[in-house]
């Protein structure tokens, strides 16, 4: 029993990180109704941007966080405004192809500038742990990921519930024409929504960079995690995304614990399949 607690604890904490990775993707799928294939790559792009600020300007990862996150909001806004909005509403596949293209471009640009070497954002939290019992330790960086995840999702929830912009984004997701008739410029709303989505991806990217190593191609790995979490949760549910992040992370770590590290990803996918069989709309899904 004692040795089960560690993977459960790690899984729960890691779940908070998975939730921030997924929340932006799930929001965009629910609102603009497109699958943003570049979500993971934009996330890793933020990790590299952070790296640039750390190594070139000598900022600490925490400070560069405050530069990278607003910058990524702008990149998300323009990504929607100049690329995706042009192909929206014509058919379902053009936005997919655009997003896929952007994904490939980002990966190759990163490869060109940074080589395929593994990178990480060094922090002073890296190896620290808090011991609960002799056998049970809390990794401090996992704990901070979890707490930041909780805070981000809480703020996102408040934003969507309380602000005019957040309400307009939800209204446009419900009925685009009716939202237009209320005076909402839906194209601009979509750009803001993508900006917010990529802002969360940037937070996730910096946290991932501080917790694990990353390569130019790591984006697709996280895209699948985000996709898995979004599907388990059901689209558009914030609480659901948090719980689903924990479910997927615990499933992965259990797989790793019992079957060996090679089975981590596959055991996560098995849980995903089982949940889809039982609840096709996701655990908290309405659509």
């Amino acid at each position: 029993m004692e040795d089960l607690l560690q993977p459960i604890l790690n899984g729960v904490l890691l779940g908070g990180l998975y939730a921030i990775i997924a929340i932006g993707l799930s929001t965009i799928m629910g609102i603009v109704k497109i699958m943003n294939f570049a979500h993971g790559d934009l996330m890793i792009l933020s990790s590299y941007l952070c790296l640039v600020f750390v190594t070139w300007l000598g900022l600490s990862p925490y400070w560069s966080f405050f530069v990278v996150v607003p910058l990524m909001y702008c990149i998300g806004y323009f990504y929607q405004w100049f690329l995706l909005n042009r192909v929206l509403g014509k058919a379902t596949d053009p936005p997919l192809i655009v997003a896929f293209g952007v994904s490939i471009m980002i990966q190759n640009i990163l490869l060109l500038f940074f080589t395929p070497d593994a990178r990480t954002l060094m922090t002073n939290l890296g190896m620290k742990t808090i011991s609960l019992t002799p056998h049970l330790k809390i990794p401090v960086n996992y704990l901070s990921d979890f707490l930041i995840g909780l805070v981000v999702i809480f703020f996102l929830y408040c934003f969507f519930q309380k602000s005019y912009l957040g309400r307009a984004i939800r209204a446009a997701a419900d009925d685009e024409i009716a939202a237009k008739l209320m005076g909402v410029n839906t194209r601009r709303i979509y750009a803001h929504a993508m900006g917010i989505s990529i802002l969360t991806a940037a937070i996730a990217g910096v946290l991932v960079g501080m917790t694990f190593t990353f390569y130019p191609y790591t984006g697709s790995t996280y895209l699948f995690i985000a996709f898995g979490v979004a599907i388990i949760a059901g689209l558009g549910s914030m609480k659901g995304t948090f719980v689903a992040g924990i479910i997927l992370a615990v499933a992965q770590l259990f797989g790793g614990h019992f079957l060996g590290p090679g089975y981590q990803v596959v055991s996560g996918h098995i849980i995903l399949l089982i949940i889809l069989l039982l609840k096709p709309k996701g655990i908290f899904g309405t659509v």
């Binding site: 209204a171 419900d174 008739l181 410029n185």
Partner: protein, 238 residues
């Protein structure tokens, strides 16, 4: 008191790709009046309203709103100028609460500041919305949804409201109530354009009426001067 022209549509042509839905449609609405546009299914009534509100763009013709040219402007621009629409099928936001639905009506920056006053007025007009305050839009009955749609359109404190088929699918007693409230709204000085299939009721409410048939205005006049045979003939095109 001299009244100005609230809405003036001149020579409007609207196409859906190769199909022409409106042919040289012209109409005029006096400020403070109820104008009715009637016609059978597919006669172009909804197309007309969608074009006035800016969801569709005309291929020819002009639309003037209180003397300002508004044709080709997107909906968020027409709403900002004081034009509001109660869309066909109500189009309530299903996963927003009644309160949030109403707030969406005051999205336009012009009306945000005055939203509390508008809200109070609307809850006074439709007290049932007060009871349903925190319910999701999709849990309301058809009649309640229609009241919410009208209330939502009024939240922007508009000068003119376009009403598309507000009696569609509702029980006669509820339609009667809604028309009574429409009269009250009109008496406060808001110009109303009614689009209906229900000839009798909308002619009774209106000060002036137009009949559309296959995208053309085939008959117009004061309801009192229109004879029933003529209207029927124009409506069905026989």
């Amino acid at each position: 008191m001299s009244k100005s022209i609230a809405l003036k549509v001149t020579g409007l042509n609207v196409h859906y790709k190769d199909f022409q839905a409106l042919w040289n449609v012209s109409l005029e609405t006096q400020e403070g009046e109820i104008t009715s546009v009637i016609g059978a299914n597919g006669s172009g009534k909804s197309t007309l309203l969608s074009t006035v509100s800016g969801v569709l763009s005309p291929t020819a013709g002009t639309i003037d709103f209180f003397g300002e040219k508004i044709d080709g402007l997107p909906p968020h621009e027409t709403v900002a100028r004081g034009l509001s629409m109660v869309p066909e099928g109500r189009r309530i936001f299903p996963r927003l609460t009644v309160y949030e639905n109403l707030l969406m009506g005051s999205y336009s920056p012009r009306s945000r500041a005055k939203r509390n006053r508008a809200l109070e007025k609307i809850l006074d007009l439709f007290p049932v919305l007060k009871v349903r305050h925190y319910q999701m839009g999709n849990t309301l009955s058809g009649g309640e949804q229609q009241m919410l749609a009208i209330g939502r359109a009024l939240m922007s404190e508009p000068k003119l409201v376009l009403c598309d088929e507000i009696s569609l699918g509702l029980a006669p007693v509820i339609i009667k109530g809604i028309y009574k409230e429409l009269k009250r709204i009109n008496e406060e000085g808001i110009t109303i354009v009614l689009v209906e299939q229900d000839i009798k009721r909308s002619l009774k409410a209106a000060g002036y009426a137009y009949v559309l048939l296959q995208g053309k205005v085939v008959l117009e006049g004061k309801p009192s001067s229109l004879n029933e045979e003529e209207v029927k003939k124009a409506y069905f095109g026989v």
